[in-house]
Each structure stands twice: as structure tokens, then as C-alpha cells.
Symmetry: C2
Amino acid sequence: MEQSLQGIRVLDLTRVLAGPYATMVMADLGADVVKVEMPKTGDDARQFGPFVGEESAYFMSINRGKRSIVLNLKDEEDKNVFLSLAEKADVVMENYRPGTMEKLGLGYDHLKEVNPTVIYAATSGFGHTGPYAKRPAYDAVVQAMGGLMSITGPKGGPPTRVGTSIGDITSGLFTVIGVLAALQHRHHTGEGQKVDVSMLDCQVAILENAIARFVVTGEVPKPGGNRHPSITPFEPFETEDGEIMIAAGNDALFAKLCRVLGTEAWLEDERFATNTQRTENIEIIVPLINDLTRKKKTSKWQELLDEAGIPNGPINSIDQVLSDPQVKARDMVKEVEHPTAGLLKMAGVPVKMSKTQGKIKSPAPELGEHQEQVIKEWLSK
Amino acid sequence: MEQSLQGIRVLDLTRVLAGPYATMVMADLGADVVKVEMPKTGDDARQFGPFVGEESAYFMSINRGKRSIVLNLKDEEDKNVFLSLAEKADVVMENYRPGTMEKLGLGYDHLKEVNPTVIYAATSGFGHTGPYAKRPAYDAVVQAMGGLMSITGPKGGPPTRVGTSIGDITSGLFTVIGVLAALQHRHHTGEGQKVDVSMLDCQVAILENAIARFVVTGEVPKPGGNRHPSITPFEPFETEDGEIMIAAGNDALFAKLCRVLGTEAWLEDERFATNTQRTENIEIIVPLINDLTRKKKTSKWQELLDEAGIPNGPINSIDQVLSDPQVKARDMVKEVEHPTAGLLKMAGVPVKMSKTQGKIKSPAPELGEHQEQVIKEWLSK
């Protein structure tokens, strides 16, 4: 089956997570991603645990479907090979600290000389402009600086880091969007351009209602625990044997929930008439619901709530996620055979397309595995 | 300045957050997004607080740059108007529960009859296939079911919801990627297709190293607090007057950190020689660093660490984020004038493009504000 980004050549200088996550998404959608690594050590992430034999499982899970070549960009000969490849590329992607590529003589202004239609995508901690442009960053730094930590965590507790590197991942996704939008523009005009995505900017872009709340009320949002800040009831409730997340996001769902709980009288209750009123009276309604949910087991509530069409679910651990029937049915856990590390499970491709379904094309490459193959393919005629 | 998605017509049936976030990103990049709302109440999010006058700040912040028309899709006449608009659309986007559009006679199979090249993007809780397909969901439910809560929170503490609706937002971003990839395919083949993105799938796709860690070690990942699970030192450290996030993500950065801390002797210390060894000896090294960082103020450490090129940053609250010099320099806080609600601050556009920079085209629409305008524009020959 054809894939949507088939034929798109990506010259990929990215390392660690934000950039490699972006080029993984592009590879999964069919792009030809050639990873350019430094001699000997390659991508830093090759050294991040846990390991399977000699191979980093972390590296393998986000570099599937790519090919690897080794080039020392400080060496004149290798630099010329890189420039020849850049001439043939549709997209060049990098996540160096701003200024690094320029110092190598390989910034966008240089590359567009050899390839005027190239799309150059840079993902960096703070972006290529502004007072912090030259500062290095990692996910934890932008989660801290971007405000997300300040609104995540137990109610009344300390700011808490999101358990996945969401600063890297969201900037990776916005970078892919920028590259695909630039391809769209190139179709109409033949023009290339530079796409500059900052992890910090992306953190601001995903703050969602926290900005609106602060701007309107003047109150600085704090970690809110597991409760939605403006929708009620919308949080985990206690059951006889654990917890269940119940999300009654509008008045119709609240009415259905009242019928499941046997509290139809609440529908006539002034305090609970609208979402705004329920949110005002959250300290009254939540204990009332907990008193009722504690009377049955989680699985029983799941059944009753599912029947009534009320959004609900258990709080799954990673092992439960990987064996969840829906996750499996959607092909979201894939086994990929690596020549030395063996069979490795990793996340599947979340964009499902009826005509051009993406796929994991191959395991992550060994360092420099495709040197000759790529140079032959890209540079012959 | 031209925008990258200029000329792309999006017929937008999305409500609440995941879908509207996706169509906001497309509108910011220049697409013509026409929001189809139900009569009287419109998008549920119009009722979500906080409010400025009569207007939801929440709704306004994620529906900027779109136009609104009102159609009752259960009414034959309105349905025909919708079908005429769908005929003219490049993309139809919806985030109803799977089956809803089919019941209305407006699913992809129906729409492709009137417009064979249409790209139909559906964002839903669990996707259009699999045993949970018909179940409703909200962000909190998929954060719970998708494993992200189980790895977020204080060390030893309970699973914790991310403070922004990351389940909605990531599925919105993957939906945009699917739509843009489908446009790329359409350029080559003229073919439309259906893009089916599930919030739960996207949660699995962003679990990152948690899957690798579980698969390799067999240990179920738990909330890890603010420490990186496999890179050391990489967490907030105590200062004389607060905390500072320090992320020494590789051996070179660790060496620089040792020079700033005056602990060059650690570079000869077997226990700290590589990242793997530092992570094994994390309970030794972290207290040693804290003993040193407590001796100076946060701002002094920032200065010293910046000079040395070591990734670091303060843990900012939302008010601090909005007044951060870098965030301002990158144009990430925009003021948008709404005709009745007045001036509202919201996040800017994080994809920076050198030739086709996106922008906030207009404030969020009033319900049905563009009824005549859109029908005239799209349906007049």
C-alpha cells in the first residue's frame, strides 16, 4: 500500500528525543528518513538505558523506520557529502542548539544556496530568535519554565513533571505540522522555507484553559490534582475496590449519571442545575457521589456507566495499557524484530488512514548501517 | 503574507477540545475553517467557564480564526446545505462519538459520494474500530486508561492527571498531521480518504520510554516525581531561595556541571563516570549536589549554569510564563480583540515559518455569525 509521505526525502540530523520523535512520525507515514550521526558514538540516545544486549531500547523505540549514515560535519570531505545529500533532500531536520549549524556552515542560509526548495526544520529549546535562543534545554527545563509543572500535581502539592517528555513530544508534533504545511506551500509555489519550533513556545501553546483562567480571574492556577478545573463532576471517584474516572462533561451526561446513581432528584436541585453551578458547589456534590460509588466495585460501575453512555474508565498501569483489548485491536502495540536485540514491543502508529496507512518500516538502524546504500541511492544521478 | 494552508476549506463539526484544537491549528496556518454548530447552544465549550461577560474565555481561546454557521443536521433542509458545503470542502473534521455521523447519513461513506476527493478526519475517544469504538470519552478518561496518569505524580504518590488536557491536545495534533499527510497524498493521486485518530491511541504513542522500560525490565513504571527515569542528574535541585531545574543530559554536560560546582574530582570517580553509573548511584549523587546548590540563590545558579551552557531553568507559574522575556519575544502571548468580550490574551502560534508565518486571523465567532457570508462564498458557483 502506498504511504502518504512516500518519496519525501528527509535528511535527519536530530538527536535525543524532540527531533527524532518528529522524524519517527514522518518515517511512519512513509518518508525516507536518513539519520546523520556523528562518528563512533552517534545519537546520544544510543547511550540511554534500558538496554537489550548492547542496544538502547529507548533509542530503538523512537528511531524505527530510519536509515543511518555516519558523517563528521567538522571534516571537509564529510561536509561535502552532507551538502550533496542536502541538495537531494526535500526536508532537512535538526535539533541542535541555535547557531550550531551556522557555525558548521550548514545553516538554512547555506543550505538554501545548494537547494533553494529545501524545507529546513529546526526544533530547539527556545527557538532561533529571542534572548534565550542560544541557551540549551531539555524537556525537564521547558516543562519547568513553560508553566505545565506549575499546574500539574496533587491539589495543594508541589509542581510536578509530566511522566513522559511532553515538552519534547509536543514540539516534535508541531515540527511535523510545520514541515507538512511547508510542503503544502511548496506544492503551490515551489518555494522552500525555514520552520523554527521552540519547545518553550509549544509548552505555552498547550496550556489551554490555564491561560484563560489566569487572564480572566487574575488567579494563578496551581496543581489541581485529578479534578477538571471547570467541569463537574469530572474526576476519579472511589469504588468498593479502587477508583474509577467519571467525566460527565455536559448537562445531558450529568442527567444520565443521576439516573445511574439513582439521584434523579438532583436534576431539580438549584445547586446542581448547570455545569457552572455544579462547579461552584463541587465540595458538596463530589462527597455525595463518592458515598454512592463506594457501594459497588469498579467493574460494576464500568458496566453501568458504559450502558448509560457516560465517559468513564479505570486508571491503568503500563502493563494494563499494553494488554488492553482496544489498544490491541487498534494495533497500537507493535513487535519489531531487531537483528541483534531481538523482538521489541513499541507503540504503533496512531494516525489511521484508510488509503495510505502508516507503518513501522524497519527496526532502528545500527550506527552507519546504511552508509553505502544511502549514498548510492541519493547521489547516483 | 501568504499562509501555508491558504485556500484549504475545512468544514468543521468539532466540539469541546480535541477537534477544535486541531481546527485551530489549521486556521492559524491559514485554512478557511467553517465551524458548524447546532442551533441555540452551539459548541458545548461555549458554556465552559471562566466567562468574560457572556462569552466563555475557554471557547474563545481555542476557536479563534474560525467562522461559525448554525445547522441542525437532523433537519432535511439544513442537512442538504451541509452536503452542499461538504461538496466544496477539502477537509471535513468531526469529533463525534463513532456512529453519530453515520446515523445522520453524513459518515465518510456518504460524504465521499458527494465529494470523492474529500479528506474526512474523525477524532474520537477510542477510534472508529475495536471493542470500545462506540464508548464516549473525555480527556480525563483517556489520561486514566492510557497509562499517562500512572507514571505522573510525586514519587511514591498516587497517579496524577496532567494539568492540561493532553489527551485532547495530542490527538488534535496527530489529527492535523493525518490531514496534512492526506493532503500530500491527494496532491499526487487526487484521492481523498478517511483519517481516524483515537485519543487513547495517542496516549499510547506518547508514553515514550515508559513502554521500553516496562518491556525490557518487566517492572511496571510508577509516578517518578520530578526526576528523569534514566538520565542523571536531571531534576530540580534546592537553592538558597527556592529550586532550579538542572538537566545534565550527557557526559559532556556533566563535566561542565562538575566545573561549575567545583567538583572536578567526580570526573575521576568510578561511580559517576557515565550516565548509566550516575543513574545507578542516583541516591548518592543527588544529595551531594543539593548540598552545594543550597549555598547560592536560584538567580545566581541560573547565571553560572547559563555561562557554562548547562540546561537549567526556574519552575515558572502561569503569570511568570506570560511575562517571560523569551515567551514575549517569540510572540507567544497574543492579544485578540473580541467585539463583545474585549481584549483577551491567548497563546500565540508555535510553528514559526520564514515564508508563510501563521497568525490569529480573527477572534472566535459568535454562534452563527457567518451564516450568510459562508453560504454565499462557498456555494455561489
